[in-house]
Assembly symmetry: C2
Homo-oligomer: 269 residues x 2
């Protein structure tokens, strides 16, 4: 029963989860610190009576990156009599007291894959743009003290929309086979003292959102012209792109599937 084998095949469950990334070493299992994956798989194993329950996620978020709608799938032994509520509440319970909660769970076919079935990923990046440092938003925003020019940032974002080779904005350690991606949305909105960046694509390169925001921030503060962002993009050279924005401002908000395994009327917002 608890030797980790799944002799009778598997049943696959999709879970939607929310987490505060602050205390974690990122999504992916690490030797040197607690990851969301380890916490999730260990909680699922408790639900499965000690059996190993491997997971695949839609997005391997970095250390300190948050999620309000991360999606993963879990492969449980087929013979377990699992129902939605037990999966959702059981895993949430066993992840206490860490700041991770299961928002929804759904049985999915074995052909469904949290990573490869995703048709869109949506991120939000939040800059707190005021002189005073964050108090209520500690670890939840990038604090930029100096006034930012929204119009210039939007002009720069316009150069990035659509299909491009994003080599200038991918981490040098990025393992994707090529750097061509299609940015479907790059919207910049002022929400009180926060400047929020809404970014959407089918998939992203490693550090892509943070590198794009870190570059656009230079435009917002007047250090770069919007035009220089276009030049940097066309250079296809990471050295021409701007710096990587801090992890703590980034949120994976939604992953879209068609159809939505969680039964929402439509995917996302």
């Amino acid at each position: 029963m608890s030797d980790g084998a799944a002799p009778g095949g598997i049943q696959r469950w999709a879970v939607k989860i929310e987490y505060d990334g602050t205390p974690f070493f990122g999504w992916q299992r690490q030797k040197n610190g607690l990851s969301v994956q380890e916490l999730l798989e260990d909680a699922a194993a408790r639900v499965a009576g000690g059996r190993v329950v491997p997971s695949i996620t839609a997005g391997r978020t970095d250390a300190r990156v948050h999620a309000s709608g991360q999606v993963a799938h879990l492969d449980f032994p087929a013979e377990l009599p699992l129902v939605e509520r037990a999966v959702r509440e059981g895993i949430s319970f066993h992840m206490k007291p860490h700041p991770v909660a299961v928002l929804a769970a759904a049985r999915v076919p074995l052909t469904w894959n949290a990573r490869f079935s995703a048709v869109k990923r949506r991120y939000c990046y939040r800059i707190l743009n005021r002189p005073a440092r964050p108090a209520l938003d500690v670890n939840r925003v990038w604090h930029v003290k100096f006034p930012m020019d929204l119009g210039a940032m939007r002009e720069a974002a316009g150069h990035l929309l659509g299909t491009h080779d994003f080599t200038s904005f991918r981490a040098t350690s990025c393992q994707a086979k090529h750097a061509v991606r299609t940015l479907e949305r790059f919207e910049i909105v002022r929400e009180g003292e926060v400047i929020a960046f809404y970014v959407e694509a089918r998939s992203f390169l490693h550090h892509q959102v943070r590198n794009l925001v870190g570059t656009i921030q230079l435009v917002g503060c007047g250090k770069w012209s919007p035009e220089r962002v276009r030049v940097a993009l066309e250079a296809r050279d990471r050295k021409e792109g701007g710096p990587t924005a801090p992890a703590e401002g980034l949120y994976l908000t939604t992953v879209d599937y068609d159809p939505d395994p969680f039964g929402g009327p439509e995917s996302g917002v």
Copy 2:
């Protein structure tokens, strides 16, 4: 210089501050734990080269209650050459790494008093109303799992608006001379998974907002009729009121003065 005396009179400064109440034993100085008042006065004393700088606040928030726009005044020795930026940034700096920030500072006349000059206090109370426990909003909301009836809560809130004797909703330890207060606003709004209560009055009794929300929550969950709230109010008996909602959902958002010492175009929203 550092004996604590202020032989040459005082200069009064108003400060607007934001804090995450989670790590504090409330506003008021305590023997058994760190308070916001102690942190603020000690930071102001650092700015004042070791001189004692007493404070008075607009609202003595309880332990774990948050503020996005708390106001206090500080009495510095008159002879110190203080300017707005030094007061604002200096105090903020000396409160690091605690989650408290000074948003604004302004010199005010000695007739001005953060507590007695306030013409309105505005609070927001946030309930996270969904089955899953909070992850991103740990310590920032009251988690209520069961669906709440917004219409019934609004009907109950209607009974509380206006001028009443709020004895049924004040802490038994409340030291105010009488319990008559005027609730100028009690609005209940659904904001995604959050139900937000916006409450405004010139002044409040001890625990009044939390007792009102704790009572209305019973209406939202169907345990009380809206009418029972009216009956409880008229009983003028704390035993007839509902329970005290948890501190962590409460935010002091704005304190209004006329004129606004921080020079805003108009006070608050």
